[in-house]
Symmetry: C2
């Protein structure tokens, strides 16, 4: 387990970023959703949001609670999951800066309660808006609506890919798939590898890949032997993404 030495747990990616005012202000313009709104509309849109911070471990949204707000993450990471009736949990995604969660649909359409839970996995700064107000923006700013449609389409495609993987692949393939997906989203170069910038236990990878923590551990050990990944307590880095990609195809 030589991998474990010189662990990356303390490199900046894993530290809290501060949630400065400047950052919160610039979030809108950096966010894909608002990329092409006209200059003169930025302030008006911006003023409708308010900022909200969460401590690590806080619920951002919670299954069963009454829905109605929409959040965009500025800094930090959060975990999006669904809970089975028996208490087990399926990790659907890890959200980071620019990602959003919550409900867009309001009273008329869709469920009145959140069906997913989002928990801050580090300190998180976000901006937030009520669904109804957000819908007003969508009406007034067609470009935002188009971007929203695009982003939702893209998420839907990812979800469908996941359904395909879970439905028809081995544990090895599913774990490889999850790692690649996370690295594309949260990857950061580190010592010739791609480090996944999020605390990530075996249990959590397992919850994403639809397997058990033990099987996940075995698979990672195997990947390590084949020099495909480095992994330690709470972190994973990809050494050879191409070969992992081949495992899936």
């Amino acid at each position: 387990m030589t991998d474990r030495h010189n662990s990356p747990v303390h490199i900046p990616a894993f530290e809290d970023e501060s949630c400065t005012v400047a950052l919160r202000k610039q979030l809108l313009r950096k966010n894909p959703l608002f990329q092409d709104i006209p200059e003169n509309a930025v302030d008006r849109v911006n003023s409708r949001f308010r900022s909200v911070s969460f401590e690590k471990g806080d619920y951002i949204i919670r299954e069963g609670k009454s829905a109605g707000r929409f959040y965009i993450l500025a800094t930090g990471v959060a975990k999006l999951f669904r809970t089975h009736p028996d208490g087990r949990t399926t990790l659907l995604d890890i959200l980071s800066s620019g990602d959003y969660c919550g409900s867009i649909a309001d009273a008329g359409f869709g469920p009145r309660e959140y069906e997913e839970t989002v928990i801050a996995d580090s300190n998180v700064c976000s901006i937030s808006i009520g669904s109804t107000a957000f819908r007003r923006i969508l009406e007034e700013q067609p470009s935002v609506a188009l971007r929203t449609v695009d982003t939702l389409s893209s998420r839907l495609r990812l979800a469908n890919e996941m359904v395909q993987q879970l439905g028809g692949s081995s544990v090895e393939t599913r774990v490889a798939f999850v790692l690649l997906r996370l690295s594309k989203k949260l990857g950061q170069p580190w010592e010739d590898k791609i480090l996944i910038r999020s605390p990530l236990s075996r249990e959590e990878i397992a919850a994403m890949a639809g397997t058990s923590a033990e099987s996940c551990s075995r698979t990672l050990s195997d990947f390590r032997r084949r020099n495909l990944v480095s992994a330690g307590r709470g972190w994973v880095a990809l050494v050879d993404p191409e070969s992992l990609e081949n495992l899936i195809a």
Copy 2:
């Protein structure tokens, strides 16, 4: 196997509907996406679509083919699936009247090729529009954009539910889940039961539930013994949806 006698294969649900002009014209107004466009815009929007028919077995869209069109089904059913590299197939959804498929994103955003395949499972009439033209409608008619966002959100939620099921449940649960989902979408009362209005082989149910045709058959046999479903060659009807629902929870 007394179930099999008096098969429903020939009741109207399974017959082709004709694709009349009147029907095609009314499609827009019945479709959720266009439900609240102003009266005076209907014709303008309508004129941008063109109608396309498909014979049973035709490809409507095909993985790997260059994307760029958007289809709304008027009559008939079609199957939406993804193909694994090894040729196996994951059935993601069964589309029927009012459902749509294809790409909304155009050149700038998203992949240039379809990532899913849709095959007509009966004769299908649809209306179709280029992605770019559709985006123009989204820009001009905010209500359509909102509806599109809502529908995508709803589909995404369904996909996430599916991920949860596939990731953490037994074959029995997954099959029950798939049957319930299909019955909600394609259910039709028939002899005190809810018939699923679509040709549906064990293989296809299996492809949706992420299992093998044999396991699916065993599960259905068991459900039949417990008086939860009726099923024959190519069809399934729910006898006791409540109990099936309990299997999932």
